[in-house]
């Protein structure tokens, strides 16, 4: 209640008046921040742990965690609250193309001059910046998009982690012949899971056509006319045609997929590595039977991983407590913040703060993931971090291709059309 009162006082004493601040602060010693996060169990747990740790360190500031749905509904809530001036003091949101859609310069606190920026990796800073100013601090870890696989079955059959697509298909053939397990798991009930063959292949696209992101953004490159870019679609069709999928791929859910890959009902599950957190919660006993590798491409020597940069937290431009909000963000981005998160939800991947380290006993798939970030290893960001253009209908198209309803080239044409709609909305040069 104190918050309500102090807020009204502040409003009454004219916006931005320093006098009002100095008048209100001593009367109400504790500042209360609200922190809006998505409602995934791991996010809420990590956020609440951070809020508690921060409050223990700064008894005069308390942080209340508020949750919202994720996905498209979540995007709408965040945009609506920003557009109506009702955003919380601090909020979590994606980085990259979705970040740019929030109109950062108008809506977010500028964090460029914060002292911790030197400790943040450049990869992260680049995906939360606009016009040279930085608006976000790192939250959670970076993810890879590749294949979760069942190591037990690999060991039984004496299989090696594939570095090229033909090797991958060969492994699938062996699994199909010698076991009852499904070589490849697909879970189209949760449509978003269908996109991984395509999105996770972007490292390979970028190797073949380094200028693809710029050309794509400028309407000079199309998926349908770029053979390297369409391979993800073709691969998806190949595994379907070869009969490598689990029988119920059309109605299986993401949860089913996690169960199958961890218990060995299936062997390969193309997925983002944040799934490790869900495996940790639901299938803890089988977690060490699961490994991870990048989607294989054409050349074994250049095998590398497509990376999704972790989420950011942002300060609301119109918050009444900008200093406290910045202090909280600094805490989340610090080594201490990383440790609190690891403690709360386990180590799921590398942090974007340089001084942050992972414990030695990370789960097996995390270990595999981290190896792609080691010296000399190869990785590249996903397309959505290099271009603002991403078509909204991709997941429907990949479901169609993955179920044999639509051919890869048809899918690519349809996706190019879908992308055009998005580019027009963004009013990008070169599109009409």
């Amino acid at each position: 209640m104190t918050y309500e009162i102090s807020r009204r006082l502040l409003v009454a004493a004219a916006a931005g008046s320093a006098l009002a601040l100095s008048f209100a602060t001593p009367a109400f010693a504790e500042v209360k921040l609200t922190f809006l996060v998505d409602n995934a169990a791991a996010t809420v747990t990590a956020s609440e742990a951070l809020a508690a740790a921060f409050h223990a360190k700064n008894p005069d500031i308390s942080v209340e965690v508020e949750s919202r749905p994720g996905g498209g509904e979540g995007d709408n809530i965040v945009k609506t609250r920003l557009a109506t001036g009702e955003m919380t003091d601090v909020f979590m949101y994606n980085t990259g193309s979705l970040f740019h859609a929030l109109n950062p310069q108008q809506n977010m606190l500028d964090l460029t001059d914060e002292s911790y920026q030197s400790d943040i990796m450049d990869t992260f800073k680049s995906v939360v910046s606009e016009n040279g100013r930085i608006y976000g601090a790192p939250f959670r870890t970076t993810m890879g998009g590749g294949v979760l696989y069942n190591k037990k079955i690999y060991a039984e059959l004496g299989l090696k982690v594939p570095k090229t697509w033909p090797e991958f298909m060969q492994n699938n053939a062996i699994i199909k012949e010698k076991t009852k397990a499904a070589p490849v798991i697909q879970t189209f009930k949760d449509t978003w899971t269908s996109q991984l063959f395509f999105l996770g292949d972007f490292y390979n696209v970028l190797r073949a056509v380094p200028t693809f992101p710029e050309d794509f953004t400028a309407n000079k490159a199309k998926f349908a006319t770029t053979p390297a870019a369409i391979k993800g679609f073709e691969h998806q069709e190949e595994v379907f045609k070869a009969g490598f999928l689990n029988e119920d791929f059309g109605s299986a859910s993401y949860d089913d997929g996690l169960r199958m890959v961890s218990t060995g009902e299936g062997v390969h599950y193309p997925m983002l590595t944040f799934a490790i957190g869900n495996l940790f919660e639901t299938y803890k006993d089988n977690l060490d039977d699961v490994g991870f590798f990048a989607l294989p491409g054409d050349e074994a020597a250049n095998n590398g991983l497509t990376v999704w940069v972790g989420e950011g937290i942002y300060g609301y431009a119109q918050t009444e407590h900008p200093d406290e909000a910045k202090k909280f963000m600094a805490f989340v981005a610090s080594k201490e913040g990383c440790d609190v998160q690891t403690e709360a939800i386990g180590a799921l991947g590398p942090y974007m703060t340089k001084s942050c380290t992972l414990p030695d006993d990370v789960p097996s798939p995390t270990k595999d993931l981290v190896s792609y970030f080691a010296e000399g290893a190869k990785n590249a960001p996903a397309l959505e971090f290099l271009s603002p253009v991403k078509g909204p209908a991709l997941e429907q198209i990949t479901v169609e291709i993955g179920s044999g309803i639509r051919s890869p080239i048809d899918g690519a044409k349809l996706y190019d059309e879908d992308v055009r709609k998005q580019a027009l909305q963004l009013d990008l040069p070169g599109w009409e």
Partner: protein, 296 residues
């Protein structure tokens, strides 16, 4: 009665139905619904990110009509609306008659039929997705007892839309039934007694008494379920997300996807189109149904 007296009575009758009875409803409805909703139609002519907009004329409408799955969605919308509202009218009436008749454990039966209306769409969606699961769902388990392999209800394009429509009827028929119950209960008992005295059998009583006198209920159920069916997408969204692919997309889900993608101007234009479409079907229908009411 003198002319003057008659005039006075007429004035008294008019005063008995004062216009200010509209006032509270009109104020709330006008300010909180009509004004913002119709003011927002302006944005259908703009490219709108919620933070800024730019005027682009009719481009959004052009874009909307060139949606690759619009025609498909339109056909689905009509099928879905006709199937669900037709079933609700027929089943609702039959259940309404059954549940106002002297049937055993009537209260319990009514509660059972109405129960699905109480459960949230999310819960219904998850439950039926699982019951309709092709390999380990209950429905196909039962079909398998007869030695037949059941189809993939929600992922086979041939069945998906009708499967969702079935669930929609399951969830909504309780509402239609309750309206019918209210309608049948409002029929004065002497009509039935008179019919009985004239020697009408049960079927004749239904045809000559229940059906015409339960007309307000029928009209209401038709209008409500037709509008509901033409606009509905929440159950479709919960169960198939318009899929597999685009096969169960309806016009409303196409618009919803545009909204989710942040194309706010475009989705507003879509809402205008859908409004015109639904109004073109429902307004004349409502006019016809209500005119016959006056004649009766």
């Amino acid at each position: 009665m003198t002319t003057q007296n008659k005039k006075g009575t007429r004035r008294a009758f008019a005063a008995a139905y004062p216009s200010w009875f509209y006032l509270p409803a009109a104020v709330i409805f006008g300010i909180l619904f009509l004004f913002p909703t119709f003011a927002s139609l302006f944005f259908s002519l703009t490219r709108w990110t919620l933070f800024k907009y730019s005027f682009i004329g009719l481009d959004n409408f052009r874009q909307f009509f060139s949606e690759p799955f619009l025609v498909w969605g339109l056909i689905n919308t009509l099928i879905y609306a006709v199937v669900t509202s037709g079933s609700k009218v027929v089943l609702g009436m039959l259940l309404g008659i059954l549940l106002t008749s002297n049937v055993m454990m009537r209260g319990l039966l009514r509660a059972i039929v109405f129960f699905p209306v109480l459960v949230s769409t999310i819960g219904v969606g998850i439950t039926f997705t699982m019951l309709m699961h092709p390999t380990n769902g209950l429905i196909n388990d039962v079909i398998a007892v007869f030695g037949v392999k059941g189809p993939a209800w929600l992922t086979d394009p041939r069945f998906a839309l009708l499967s969702v429509a079935f669930v929609d009827v399951w969830k909504g028929v309780g509402l239609a039934t309750v309206i019918y119950i209210a309608g049948i209960v409002s029929i004065p008992a002497e009509y039935y007694e008179a019919a009985k005295m004239d020697g009408a059998n049960a079927l004749q009583r239904f045809w000559n008494v229940t059906l015409p006198l339960a007309r307000p209920a029928t009209v209401t159920v038709i209008i409500l379920s037709l509008i509901g069916g033409l606009r509905s997408f929440d159950l479709i969204w919960a169960m198939t997300k318009g899929g597999p692919g685009f096969t169960t997309d309806v016009v409303a889900s196409v618009i919803y996807k545009q909204y989710q993608a942040g194309f706010y101007g475009l989705s507003t234009a879509g809402n205008v189109v859908l409004f015109v479409l639904v109004a073109a079907i429902v307004v004349p229908l409502s006019f016809v149904l209500n005119r016959r009411e006056v004649e009766a």
